[in-house]
């Protein structure tokens, strides 16, 4: 029989009493004018020419000539108006007057020219169409410039929206000093935190609060707990500090506001164009028909994803006509295999003595959560009789094997706004493009011609040219789009008016007020 003596009892009681009288930390105290946003990795020095700093932080500090609006609408940024010549060989910009960089340097045609010449015509940035086709810049007036091109670049205006290197830095900024014209000024940055203060001289709508702290919290659970405790105000955003659907569901039940809106990037199951098995359209058709996209969206993404069979979602411009998502049809999948000369049933298929067995390459590091999706798809395809072998590899191996098409099936993602559709089409569906470690979703000589035409076509004909690409991809079952993941954020109750930023590469602050 255990006995608790008087001394132990008193000590325990005293200890518990001490805990209850310890003061609660009011984490929001002293932060009434500060929005605290989680970031998964340090921002870095926001060098516009290096691919090191976190993408999401640039737009707070630097403006672009053109800003990205809903559905890909072009909105005036540092340029108030723009005109593309009829031959497409020059673009004139009226620059916003009365704008200065936060170090006092005026933003004018000279500053714009200095900035544009840092990357236009430079080999390192030839992956940007307008940089590759750059010819010269003419200063027409103190606030007007014309960019002359060697050939038309229909996506030029969209390219001027991307995060880097296109944004504008003060010509007087010393190395490592991020000085722009944007709504925020970098007060300090370290490996644990970046502090931004409001640019009270900003030309546009000024934020309603004076300070923004970007807190580096690499662990997702830690971010969620910090939000619960009131130490953070906002978490989420694929390129800021990703919030998983499961965590979002948990937070929703704890008084946090979950903001989910249709996304701009598609998760695609890619078929290796060099795999003999995947060159058989019947196999591709069977996989396409054998997957229950709605179940993937509901079960694995907790409903925070939208099933799709289109390469691009409607949230990006010229995404093409919408295709209804077919219900999973095991019988149709098996019929497709039979029509393709395969013999068998749910127990397995063979053709010319070869068993239908597919290598499914997965990397959790490259695409968190992909292993679970792969397992679900594996189960679905097993019912069709298609055997898949999931091979889980690290990020480096994925980057090694994907460019070599050393797989049968693997996951890809489109870039999302503001890079699409031209970005993903030009990189992931063209044989000649060198995408290095990213690999390509699908390539074929016929597709090359269509994509080239689509990317070179401007004006009213562009939509039709793009649609021809989408139709070819669908007709040939060249890729297997699965879902469009929603843009997902969790917001503390003290934050009001939360509005999603224009793209996943931007920080949220517009419209927000703090309680």
């Amino acid at each position: 029989m255990l006995k608790l003596d008087r001394r132990s009892f008193l000590a325990t009681t005293a200890g518990l009493s001490f805990l209850t009288v310890l003061p609660r930390i009011a984490f929001a105290d002293g932060h009434a004018d500060t929005l605290r946003v989680a970031i998964a990795g340090e921002t870095g020095d926001l060098d516009l020419l290096q691919n090191v700093s976190t993408l999401s932080s640039y737009s707070a500090v630097f403006d672009a000539l053109i800003h990205y609006g809903p559905g890909g609408a072009l909105e005036p940024g540092l340029a108030t108006a723009w005109t593309i010549a009829e031959d497409g060989l020059s673009i004139s910009f009226d620059l916003r007057e009365g704008v200065s960089f936060t170090d006092g340097t005026p933003f004018d045609a000279t500053a714009a020219e200095w900035n544009l010449k840092r990357w236009m015509g430079v080999a390192d940035f030839s992956w940007i169409g307008i940089a590759d086709a750059f010819d010269s810049i003419v200063i027409d007036a103190p606030n007007k410039i014309t960019v002359k091109l060697k050939r038309p670049v229909p996506a030029a205006l969209l390219e001027l929206i991307i995060v880097r290197p296109v944004r504008f830095l003060s010509p007087k900024a010393a190395a490592g000093q991020p000085i722009g014209t944007g709504p925020w000024i970098v007060e300090s940055y370290s490996s644990t935190e970046t502090v931004l203060v409001r640019n009270d001289a900003y030309w546009g709508d000024k934020p309603a609060f004076g300070r923004m702290e970007l807190k580096v919290v690499p662990d997702e659970l830690a971010r969620a707990n910090a939000l619960r405790a009131g130490e953070l105000d906002v978490i989420g955003g694929d390129w800021v500090a990703a919030l998983s659907p499961r965590r979002a569901q948990a937070l929703a039940g704890e008084g946090m506001t979950i903001v989910a809106e249709p996304g701009t990037a598609t998760t695609i199951l890619g078929f290796s164009p060099q795999s003999p098995m995947m060159q058989d359209k019947a196999v591709r058709d069977a996989i396409f028909l054998g997957i229950d996209r709605a179940a993937v969206a509901t079960v694995l993404f907790e409903g925070f994803a939208d099933p799709t069979v289109d390469i691009f979602p409607a949230t990006v411009p010229t995404a093409g006509s919408r295709t209804p998502v077919p219900a999973r049809d095991v019988a149709a999948a098996q019929a497709a295999l039979t029509a393709g000369g395969w013999a068998g049933d749910a127990a397995g298929w063979t053709k010319d003595g070869t068993a239908l067995e597919i290598a499914f390459l997965v990397s959790e590091e490259s695409f968190p959560g992909s292993r679970r999706i792969a397992e679900m798809i594996q189960g679905m395809l097993m019912e069709v009789g298609v055997k898949t072998n999931i091979e889980t590899v690290d990020n480096a191996t994925m980057h090694d094997r994907r460019p070599k098409f050393d797989y049968d099936l693997t996951f890809f993602g489109t870039y999302g706004a503001p890079y699409d559709p031209h970005g993903s089409l030009g990189a992931s569906f063209v044989t000649a493009s060198d995408t290095g470690p990213d690999g390509k979703i699908y390539v074929h000589p016929d597709l090359d011609a269509l994509v080239a035409t689509a990317l070179e076509t401007g004006g009213d004909a562009r939509e039709g040219a793009m649609q021809a690409v989408y139709d070819w991809l669908r007709t040939n079952t060249a890729a297997c789009p699965l879902v469009v993941t929603q843009r997902l954020w969790a917001v503390h109750p003290r934050v009001a008016g939360f509005t999603l930023p224009a793209t996943d590469y931007d920080l949220p602050f517009k419209g927000i007020t703090l309680g």
Partner: protein, 313 residues
């Protein structure tokens, strides 16, 4: 005596050399194209095959492994551990920024483990089968068998989210260290508490303890004056081993609590296949392991004359 000390030091250096060679081989033998990853980081969508080949050439990735190791060792001996492929900063700079954080975590955790283990072990021995002894035994078992990421999550939920007493992440004053220290100290404290308890029990049955009782000393007096000093050597050696293992705990604890230390850097280095960062960090870990163990050996030799005697055939 001096010769034995020198022999231990030389052995430690040889061990470090062998360990760095082994880790170098393991890090470089892992599959995957590091140059492709670097190219992607450097140029994003602009990374191409030519760039990848140039990076591989610049980094000497095409050279034979022994050549690469010899080159790395030569640089490392001069304090040059290379430039992190992930952050672009020299590793010396990364270490200068991060080692103080990890040292603060380990030191605080070490002190807490020391205090807790002695308190729990002595209290258990004093209780000797009573409720406190059984309670502490149970606590030590739980502490030694609960993974630190779970401990961290529970502590954060209770003390930060529910009670709002301490911050969930980052460093903002002494209170922000409490949960990381408790998390990292729990496992070694639990193991060491059992070491103290069991060794005290053993020592209390030794003749000199019986003599103490015969002289009229109380149980507590015998425990503290006679028995406790006699468990110093096993405690010290176990503490040394547990303290070195805390660096592994730091890898998880730093990430969970958003501490910008060497452990958090190591995780990111692995994720990115930053083999320069991984190799430098592993070397740091090896030096830490071997140095602490060497220090413990030397202290034990100083404390116990029997360990200084040369072994006879």
């Amino acid at each position: 005596m001096q010769r034995m000390f020198m022999r231990r030091v030389v052995l430690a250096l040889l061990l470090m050399l062998a360990a760095t060679a082994l880790t170098f081989w393991l890090v470089t033998a892992a599959p995957g194209n590091v140059a492709a990853l670097i190219a992607e980081r450097a140029a994003g969508a602009g990374a191409d095959g030519e760039m990848i080949a140039k990076i591989a050439d610049d980094l000497g990735l095409n050279d034979p492994l022994p050549v690469r190791y010899a080159r790395w060792l030569g640089d490392a001996l001069t304090g040059d551990f290379g430039v992190s492929l992930r952050t672009g900063k020299p590793m010396a700079e990364e270490f200068a920024e991060r080692i103080p954080m990890t040292l603060a975590l380990l030191t605080g955790g070490g002190v807490l483990a020391l205090v807790l283990s002695l308190a729990m072990g002595i209290a258990g021995a004093a209780s000797n089968g009573g409720i406190v002894d059984r309670l502490l035994h149970g606590m030590a078992l739980i502490g030694a068998s609960t993974p630190n990421f779970f401990v961290a999550a529970m502590l954060v939920i209770v003390f930060s989210v529910w009670l709002g007493m301490v911050p969930t992440f980052g460093v903002s004053g002494l209170t922000s260290w409490l949960l990381p220290w408790i998390t990292i100290a729990l496992f070694p404290a639990s193991v060491l508490a059992r070491v103290v308890r069991v060794n005290l029990q053993d020592t209390m049955s030794r003749p000199f303890a019986t003599t103490g009782f015969a002289k009229g000393l109380t149980r507590r007096a015998v425990l503290l004056r006679e028995a406790l000093p006699n468990i110093a050597i096993p405690y010290m050696t176990t503490f040394g081993a547990q303290f070195t293992l805390m660096i592994i705990g730091a890898i998880v604890v730093e990430r969970v609590f958003g501490l910008n230390g060497v452990g958090a850097f190591f995780i990111e280095a692995i994720r990115f296949r930053d083999f320069i960062g991984m190799q430098a960090t592993l070397t740091l870990f090896v030096v830490f392991f071997v140095s602490i163990n060497l220090l413990v050996d030397l202290l034990a030799m100083l404390a116990d004359p029997r360990l200084r005697r040369p072994k006879k055939a």
